[in-house]
Amino acid sequence: MLREILIIVIKKFIHQFASPKTYFYQVNRLYPWLLYISISIYISAIIWGLFFTPKDFVQGHSYRIIYFHVPASFVAQSLYAAMAISSAVFLIWRVKLAAYLARSIAPVGAMVTFIALVSGSIWGIPTWGTWWEWDARITSTLILFIMYLGLISLHNSFNNFDKADKLFSYLAIIGFVQIPIIKKSVDWWSSLHQPASITISDKPSIDPSMLYPLFMAMIGFAGLVACIVILSSKVQIYIREKNKNWVKDYV
């Protein structure tokens, strides 16, 4: 009995929240809170990381770019995973909001991946003595960037949104195979890039004085990127639902 009630409540919640209109108004309410909290967390993390953490024994002060590079790399991969999940939800349950979200994540993902590549390149100069190295992690991240661009190109080449969404979803799901490769590239291949400092199974190899601000930076950065995804998804809703009365009324 309880199980059935729970299923009905979940279904009702999903059904309501899967409506672009409900989503639109809900994120409108959430957006300012998320934005201000994320900015506060990220700025605090940056101040903590730049001024109140010790310098690294080997890299000196140059390691402090970690508070920008690591969150960007982490979010770049997470966004792809989110996009693939949204695509699967769209293909399986035909939730059109999931397709809007997947499409709106793609340009943000490309931007964040580009930031990760550029910040990594800048970090490479003092650490490795080179802007670029054809190393497994860096190359696979570059492939992720190209993958995002390919997805955007594919979607933009079709005028029929329904067809474009379906094809985009197929490619996004197949392309997800790149994510574990990027994640494990530093373990599978001998690489200039250091192995992961933070893993689920092991104790972090990074000192807590540097780790806590890094966690904060990751949370703040993810929040800021979520804000951009919200804005991007609102643009998608404007484009797709422009003929709906509620959009006309809202505008």
């Binding site: 390919g150 190109s153 067809k163 094809l167 490619l171 195979v177």
Partner: protein
């Protein structure tokens, strides 16, 4: 019988289109003949560069071989007929890719092993590279077919752009296989790895491609 008939039809269609069948093989031969001309005539340089050039040229040739692979069938209504007749579209896709591999992939793999003999003067490495090329050509064909099915009416450039990132992990494994052949270590491990990849995508992708084609026809 039905499968044999489909295979025969696909073979006839492919052989009739010389550009689609013989073209990629000739381009492969031209690349492999031309590349030693760009290197100093010392045998060490030639053998060092041989495998990367071989793998990249196979990738490009497979890309050419699948250019517009479904377009003609889409335009002449064959695909719609398949959909109406309730025949298995994924089976047809599987057979079409298989026939392309048989008529283009297998000759190119043989030629690749033959050119390896010319570049490295080593029969054992040729025998080692041949099965790897057979598998790699099939994987590349399937992946490019996937890309071409996505960009069915939008040109092969888009299909290539979206497929190339997916082929890069295979190129990485082939690169490792190259090292394995040169130093004669872990060869079978890498061969099994790409065979494992093939055994998954050989059945999964025809089903996905048929879903994509149905999306185009809706």
């Amino acid at each position: 019988m039905n499968i044999l008939l489909l295979l025969k039809n696909e073979a006839l269609k492919l052989v009739k289109k010389t550009r689609a069948w013989l073209g990629p093989i000739l381009i492969f031969i031209l690349i492999m003949v031309a590349f030693p001309l760009t290197i100093e005539l010392t045998s060490n340089n030639l053998s060092d560069a041989f495998y990367p050039v071989l793998f990249i040229s196979i990738l490009l040739v497979m890309m050419l071989a699948t250019e517009g692979i479904f377009l003609e069938d889409y335009e002449d209504g064959t695909l719609e007929l398949f959909l109406i007749s309730k025949k298995s579209l994924s089976q047809w896709v599987f057979l079409k890719i298989f026939m392309h591999w048989l008529l283009i992939g297998v000759p190119i793999s043989l030629l690749g092993a033959f050119f390896n003999l010319g570049a490295n003067n080593d029969l054992s490495s040729s025998l080692m590279i041949f099965p790897a090329l057979l598998i790699a050509t099939y994987i590349f064909l399937i992946l490019f077919c996937f890309g071409n099915s996505l960009s069915l009416t939008k040109g092969s450039a888009l299909g290539t752009l979206i497929t190339l990132p997916l082929t890069l992990p295979i190129l990485v494994i082939l690169g490792k296989l190259n090292t394995a052949i040169i130093f004669n270590i872990n060869y079978f491990e890498f061969l099994i790895l790409i065979f494992g990849v093939l055994s998954i995508i050989i059945f999964a992708f025809p089903a996905i491609i048929s879903r994509i084609i149905k999306t185009h026809l809706e």
